[in-house]
């Protein structure tokens, strides 16, 4: 997946917006920080979420971290492959390791996310801390 076409949150989720649906995963930075992922707790399809609500949990050996809904909407699909292969989040975070899809009810919420250039600057800021 071309990273230039994605939007990014401060919590290190990536979002692909297409046809009123947002596909959501975590970035390479996030998977690296998490370490070896051993379990992904996926939301139920149909679950309604507000922007910023915890949608899924990623468990690594070290820690658990939330994946937040980047927009307000309803879960339309989850990546069932993660059930048997949670390590896809580490191996291919922008592709096979996607986590869930949700409907976009307020397109304006996407404007609050970062594009690749801004996200890369954001990462530099974190590294400089």
């Amino acid at each position: 997946m071309a990273k230039e076409n994605l939007l990014y949150s401060k919590e290190h989720e990536w979002v692909l917006s297409a046809g009123g649906t947002a596909t959501v995963g975590v970035t390479d930075y996030a998977q690296h920080e998490l370490g070896d992922v051993v379990f992904v707790d996926l939301p139920a399809a149909g679950k309604e979420l507000k922007k910023g609500d915890p949608a899924a949990n990623i468990e690594s050996v070290k820690a658990v971290s939330d994946v937040y809904a980047p927009v307000t909407g309803k879960i339309t699909a989850v990546n069932a492959k993660l059930g048997a292969n949670p390590e896809l989040v580490n191996q291919d975070p922008f592709g096979e390791g996607w986590i869930f899809k949700m409907s976009i009810t307020q397109a304006s919420e996407l404007d609050e996310l970062m594009d690749l250039k801004k996200y890369e600057e954001y990462l530099k800021g974190i590294a400089g801390e």
Partner: protein, 365 residues
């Protein structure tokens, strides 16, 4: 933040550094799982210099040690080590520690990093009436642990001490790469291995660590961080102070009856309370569990037994070698038998766990 004398080596080896008990230490280098598996199959090299060293010297050194620990140090000979509890009056833990008998009238107590100051104050207060000098020399000593099946071969390349005949929980003094060291066959991983205590400047300490990592590479051994140290010790069901043992659970409740010697000659702190508890019987016990459902039960997650809330998980992780979700918890004695099921709250979900035999992992000897 405090730095161990090995600190520079961690940066050279690109360790991912975190603050741990006020120390700047690596949580991992190449990755927690990789390091964990290396220790189980080949070897791992750990900087554990943050641990504390308290020395007892004097005519009544043994009496003083005996007064404050649960185990029977009179059974020790020079060159032998014992695991013991430093106990409160109620038989709970101030800390857990290792006692090294250096020679007659001289003992070394190795204590947890987080507890050094607390322990030292406690020890001074409770040994004041004995003819003994107690010294906290934690700042002077570095400590490196080399753990795993190849540990003996690797460490032997660095020392003139003959390691082969050295038994578990024995130690010797000699040279390790031209540094005077105490070298013991001990560890916190469930594998064979050694712990090397030594005094040196930072350059020599970092060099020893780097050389061990370098020579270890030919055996596929890896430098390993605090993350793997925690998952390794939990697979082997070794207690972590602050999680599994603390000042509100007794030695008997912690299922560590084997370090309690109620009949030893010298009376000790906690003895009366524990004798009473042994007589009356315990009501709760630390057990190992495995999750039946998916998820990871971590420290602090709430437990319910037959619908009633009961304490919390003390330690829990996904076990990298066993590939199962495991943990430790105090359960009511009547629900603590192997096979008993109970529930753990993992955020908004409730999952089922069952009590299993421990240790979860036991190496083939």
């Amino acid at each position: 933040m405090k730095k161990t004398k090995i600190n520079e080596a961690h940066y050279i080896l690109k360790g991912k550094m975190v603050e741990f008990c006020g120390w700047d230490l690596p949580v991992q280098y190449s990755g927690l799982n990789t390091e964990h598996m290396a220790v189980r199959t080949t070897g791992g090299i750990f900087d554990v210099s943050h641990m504390g060293e308290v020395w007892f010297r004097g005519r009544e050194a043994l009496k003083a040690v005996q007064h404050i620990i649960s185990n029977d140090a009179a059974k020790l000979q020079p060159g032998r080590i014992q695991y013991a509890g430093l106990l409160t009056e109620s038989g709970c833990f101030v800390d857990d520690l290792l006692v090294y008998m250096m020679k007659e009238n001289e003992y070394l107590l190795v204590v947890n990093a987080a507890n050094i100051d607390k322990d030292f104050q406690w020890i001074k207060k409770h040994t004041a009436r004995f003819d003994v000098q107690v010294e906290n020399r934690s700042e002077e000593y570095s400590q490196i642990a080399v753990q795993g099946p190849i540990a003996e071969k690797l460490v032997q390349e660095f020392t003139d001490i003959d390691l082969k005949p050295m038994g578990y929980y024995h130690f010797a003094q000699g040279r390790v790469q031209d540094i005077d060291a105490i070298l013991s066959r001990t560890g916190y991983t469930g594998e064979d291995g050694f712990e090397i205590y030594f005094k040196s400047d930072a350059a020599a300490a970092s060099k020893l660590f780097l050389d061990l990592a370098d020579k270890g590479a030919k055996y596929d051994a890896l430098p390993a961080g605090l993350g793997a140290r925690d998952t390794l010790r939990l697979e082997a069901k070794m207690a972590l102070y602050g999680n599994d043992i603390d000042d509100s659970h007794t030695v008997l409740e912690a299922d560590l009856g084997w370090i309690l010697k109620l009949k030893k000659e010298e009376p000790f702190i906690g003895q009366e309370a524990l004798a009473r508890q042994k007589e009356a019987g315990i009501r709760r016990k630390l057990v190992g569990f495995e999750l039946v459902d998916k998820g990871i039960a971590r420290h602090g997650y709430p437990i319910t037994v037959q619908g009633r809330g009961f304490a919390a998980v003390t330690s829990g992780t996904f076990a990298p070698f066993l590939k199962r979700s495991i943990g430790l918890a105090y359960l009511p004695l009547e629900n603590a038998a192997v096979g008993s099921e109970f529930q753990i709250g993992i955020r908004e979900k409730t999952v089922t766990a069952k009590v299993v035999e421990t240790p979860f992992y036991k190496r083939n000897k």
